[in-house]
Subunit: 138 residues, 2 copies
């Protein structure tokens, strides 16, 4: 416990929130709720894509993703690290993205992600940066 709160309780809260987000993204239906986990100025750096910056662009990015035949995303995060004031955090994640390849066979890629989260004035954590890349070929 420090002056800003209890880091381990806050880490648990943040990981739970991230897991809720992942479940919504994996279900792939409620775009408004999915978008609500990002800050208004959030930046997503997806491999081989131009940076996606801000809510309007993120909406397009999510809508386009869900239109890809066979698209499915899942992720799991861990190891939350905070600033001492518990207002900025980052965590590590592992994600899996599937989509149908040219001949209809599913193609799955696995990535390692860093997400950076900000506790906003309403007290809620939102993701401000999301970047990932592919791990070693197994």
């Amino acid at each position: 416990m420090n002056a800003a709160g209890d880091p381990s309780a806050e880490a648990e809260r943040l990981l739970k929130r991230d897991a809720e987000w992942a479940a919504l993204a994996s279900a792939g239906r409620d775009i408004d709720r999915i978008l609500s986990y990002w800050t208004d100025d959030a930046v997503v750096l997806a491999p081989a894509f131009a940076p996606v910056i801000g809510k309007a662009a993120l909406r397009g990015y999510v809508e386009n993703s869900f239109r890809i035949p066979g698209f499915k995303i899942s992720w799991k995060s861990s190891e939350v690290r905070f600033s001492p004031d518990l207002n900025l955090a980052y965590m590590f994640g592992e994600n899996t993205v599937s989509m149908n390849g040219p001949n209809g066979t599913p193609i799955t890629t696995k990535g390692r992600a860093i997400t950076i989260w900000r506790r906003e004035p309403d007290g809620q954590w939102r993701c401000a940066v999301d970047i990932w890349n592919d791990g070693p070929r197994s």
Copy 2:
């Protein structure tokens, strides 16, 4: 100016420090000084590589990189964002890595990076996380 200090002065200080680091890495000689910019527990997530975690592993990673024929790295960072207490920061970066391909011709890849920095007890900023991926093919 806030209670923790002046964010714009601190951003300038941090970008200057990052530029010094980039110059040392680009010169590719002083491995001890290059390593001194990372925290002891730093994590580097390079595309297609297993995570490189901690100083000993980072030393091996840097030494191996500098042994690659034609290896050269450069980067430039911008847009520093702080936690309100100015003890945790992240910034955006663009990097260029060159090495000789199988037939000796240089191969150059450009990436977009996020680095996360921690102000350590000695007051110095050190990089705790470094992750990047390739941008869109141009």
